[in-house]
């Protein structure tokens, strides 16, 4: 019971091949790690397994019988349960109602009795009357697991479960995962963290670019061989130190910003960005990254503290437009939402700052010819591919090319300060390397660059200096070459633990 075999699974979105003849097998009693970078196709494959996407072709067998998983309900009937990366709980409902919703056709009291028993087996307690929205992230995740088990899942898929957890919470979750496997269920652990796969799984499948590149046992693998498989052979990016670090250009003094919802916000963040230097901000997601990026851009005002700029003085109360005029360039984390207008043309997206500055004529008249010419030049210089015409909507660009377009726009006027938030998120290795190169070029041209990223490898690869953002403030700073373990410890250190 609980075994599943997928063979030759294909799935395309538009012209993009998300899955290319992928094989995958889950066995009862086993934790199977599905490893790969963002965009490798892990989540898509698992969405096929639980009936959310229909594969274009391929076969699926459950317990040795060929099946069609045409919908979430069918997946539940077959005993397949998924815990998504982002909570699928109804936050306005109680724990009890969430469990009832997911287990239709059974008396609620039976469902609750099963849930209480299953929770005890797995080593935790539940509070039926609490609202799901009031639970902490770790508790929400356990409730999601419980929801799936009580509905009879023999195969439990966990999609990047530790991405949003602290270290201690992550360790507890891994214990729970082990108990799930010991109870005879098959567990699939989808992750991009190779150490997690090595330490907590019985079998590892590696995906890259929509293809399965390897299936192996953890004892046969080392971090080096796994990295090689995940990233691919031919891109070797290395840290290149700064040639000349100059004077501070922009600095934050004891900045406080309240967080939204469960986010912590900033609580006394101080840091200083110097010309000709890349400053990397490492940290676990939700420790103030979004708020840090926002205050540097000039979106929202700190409740306390100051933001200073060399020979401009206090710029705390200046909005985004003022800061851009003073030489701030920003590459936001969500490029489709905060950097590009998808339905507007490539030329329009590129030309916004120039148009505002009057580069294409007075306010009532645009010279579209100059605009198109400049866009074409910038596209060629920045190697933005897939642009058939400057009039095509920006949303048709792939992730890497969209990011290159953002960079082409932001870097056109020799910026003094560059803010890059998760600049390579969702990009393949080659596109990421190109983006990193452009950031280094900006630094070498004398800009002060700040990179905020939850990907520690990216931080280590780029930064001349590293600050660790923990609970809304810079908890520690390291000079390159930095000790990875020391940074990791500073990321998860709790002062009030």
């Amino acid at each position: 019971m609980g075994s599943m075999r997928m063979r030759g699974i294909d799935k395309s979105f538009g012209g993009f091949k998300a899955l290319d003849k992928v094989d995958f097998e889950a066995r009862p009693g086993e934790v199977h790690a599905l490893l790969g970078e963002n965009g490798a196709g892990k989540s898509t494959l698992m969405s096929v397994a639980c009936g959310l996407y229909a594969p274009d072709s391929g076969e699926i067998e459950v317990d040795g019988r060929p099946v069609q998983i045409d919908g979430a309900r069918r997946a539940v009937e077959l005993g397949i349960g998924i815990v998504h990366q982002h909570s699928r709980l109804v936050e306005a409902f109680t724990v009890r109602d969430n469990l009832a919703l997911f287990n239709p056709g059974r008396p609620v009291d039976d469902v609750m009795r099963d849930a209480q028993a299953a929770a005890r087996d797995l080593g935790f307690e539940i509070a039926p009357g609490r609202l799901a929205g009031q639970l902490g992230v770790a508790d929400q995740q356990r409730l999601e697991i419980l929801k799936v088990i009580v509905s009879g899942a023999r195969l439990v898929i966990l999609d990047e479960p530790t991405a949003i957890l602290s270290d201690a919470e992550g360790a507890m979750l891994m214990e729970l995962v082990r108990r799930l496997a010991q109870s005879g269920r098959a567990v699939v652990l989808v992750t991009h963290k190779l150490h997690e796969a090595l330490a907590h799984s019985d079998r590892i499948t590696v995906m890259r670019g929509g293809k399965r590149v390897a299936e192996a046992l953890p004892q046969d693998m080392t971090p080096q061989t796994l990295t090689h498989l995940i990233v691919g052979a031919n891109v070797a990016e290395a840290f290149i130190p700064s040639g000349a670090v100059g004077a501070p250009v922009l600095w934050l003094e004891n900045v406080f910003v309240p967080g939204e919802g469960r986010q912590r916000g900033l609580a006394g963040a101080s840091l200083s960005l110097k010309a000709g230097e890349i400053y990397g901000v490492a940290g676990v997601s939700g420790n103030g990254q979004a708020e840090l990026a926002a205050v540097i851009c000039g979106i929202g005002t700190p409740t306390q503290g100051r933001i200073m700029m060399a020979d401009r003085g206090d710029i705390t109360h200046q909005g985004p437009a003022d800061r851009r005029r003073q030489g701030l360039a920003a590459i936001p984390a969500d490029r489709y939402r905060h950097a590009l207008a998808g339905s507007a043309s490539v030329a329009d997206n590129f030309a916004v700052p120039g148009a505002l500055a009057g580069a294409y004529g007075p306010w009532a008249w645009f010279n579209r010819g100059i605009m198109r010419r400049q866009t074409r030049d910038a596209i060629a210089r920045n190697d933005v591919q897939g642009v058939r015409s400057t009039g095509q909507p920006a949303s048709l660009l792939s992730g890497g090319n969209a990011q290159k377009l953002v960079i082409a726009r932001e870097f056109q006027g020799k910026p003094r300060v560059v803010l890059a938030h998760s600049p390579s998120r969702g990009l393949d290795v080659r596109a990421a390397a190109a983006v990193h190169d452009r950031l280094r070029q900006a630094r070498d041209a004398g800009a002060a660059v700040i990179v905020i990223s939850e990907d520690l490898d990216e931080i280590l690869l780029l930064s001349d200096r590293i600050g660790v953002l923990n609970a809304g403030r810079i908890a520690a700073e390291f000079d390159a070459p930095a000790d990875r373990a020391a940074i990791g410890a500073a990321m998860v250190h709790h002062e009030h633990a």
């Binding site: 959310l52 996407y53 309900r73 982002h86 699928r88 709980l89 109804v90 936050e91 306005a92 919703l101």
Partner: protein
């Protein structure tokens, strides 16, 4: 003065019932995440159906049921647009109002129903008709349906987090369709009651903005049926006061009096927004379409 109070109390339920029925209908619809601005249109259709059936001698109960069916018919069109074809809910709702205004006016004129008074629903007890007593029962039924049944659980889940409902195996589109049709029946019934029991005559735009007030009532009630009933009594009370004050000979500008319900609506909205600046009561996915194959 005693007379004033007495007449006011007796006429109050007649004004409150349409508000209450329309508001609980809208709550059903919006709890499933479908923003419904078409209430005025659904009420007009119900009102016209009620008039047409009564004038053709069917009797009041059949006329009321016909009104509910007319509400269902128009809300089916609305559901096709807003749920099936994923048209923006605001646009779809507004287009229903304009469609119903034109259509009812045309039918009433061509059938010579306009200004044609009739005898509709008769009082049964304390000068009140049966619907006055049935309305609290319907409010109870909707409350029960929403909060004490699996259907209600699924309906609210669709309105709060369609992705979660989808993952639980609930068909989001079917559930939203059902909620829109069920809600449309109640809003249509509200319109039919207005003509069959209260005005007992058809004039163009007989609903006169009550559908819009019902939409405000839903916000005031924070999407709870019982609070909507309380709000309906409040607004019905204000509306019932207007003719009484004029009849008692108080010298108050007539047009100012007639604007009172709308002023009260405005006041209630401001009060609600001020009391609870971050409204957590609104269904989280209200007005949002659910598209599964979209890549996150």
């Amino acid at each position: 003065m005693i007379d004033l109070m007495g007449f006011w109390l007796i006429s109050l339920p007649g004004f409150a019932v349409p508000f209450a029925l329309a508001a609980i209908g809208l709550i059903l619809c919006e709890r499933a995440g479908v923003l419904n601005l078409g209430a005025e249109g659904f009420m007009l259709m119900g009102a016209l159906a009620g008039v047409g059936l009564t004038l053709n001698g069917t009797g009041a109960p059949v006329a009321l049921m016909g009104g509910a069916l007319a509400g269902v018919a128009l809300s089916f069109v609305f559901a096709l647009l807003a749920v099936g074809m994923r048209v923006n809910h605001v646009i779809a709702g507004l287009s229903m109002v304009f469609l119903a205004q034109a259509l009812t006016s045309y039918i009433a004129t061509s059938q010579r129903w306009t200004n044609n008074a009739f005898e509709g629903l008769r009082p049964v007890l304390y000068g009140q008709d049966a619907m006055v007593f049935l309305t609290p029962v319907l409010v109870l039924a909707v409350t029960w349906l929403l909060f004490h049944t699996r259907f209600g659980l699924a309906l609210r889940a669709v309105g709060e987090n369609p992705a979660a409902a989808d993952a639980a195996g609930i068909d989001v589109t079917t559930m939203r369709f059902a909620a829109v049709l069920l809600g449309g029946a109640l809003v249509g019934l509200a319109g039919a009651y207005l003509t069959v029991a209260v005005t007992q005559v058809w004039v163009d735009n007989v609903v006169g903005g009550r559908g819009w007030i019902a939409i405000a009532l839903v916000i005031f009630a924070r999407w709870y049926p019982w609070r909507a009933l309380a709000g309906a009594v409040l607004f019905g009370g204000i509306e019932a006061l207007i003719p009484r004050i004029s009849a008692a000979g108080f010298d108050v500008p007539r047009y100012l009096m007639q604007a009172t319900p709308y002023l009260a609506t405005l006041g209630v909205m401001i009060w609600t927004a001020w009391r609870r600046p971050t409204s957590s009561a609104q269904p989280a996915a209200l007005g949002r379409h659910h598209v599964r194959e979209a890549r996150g």
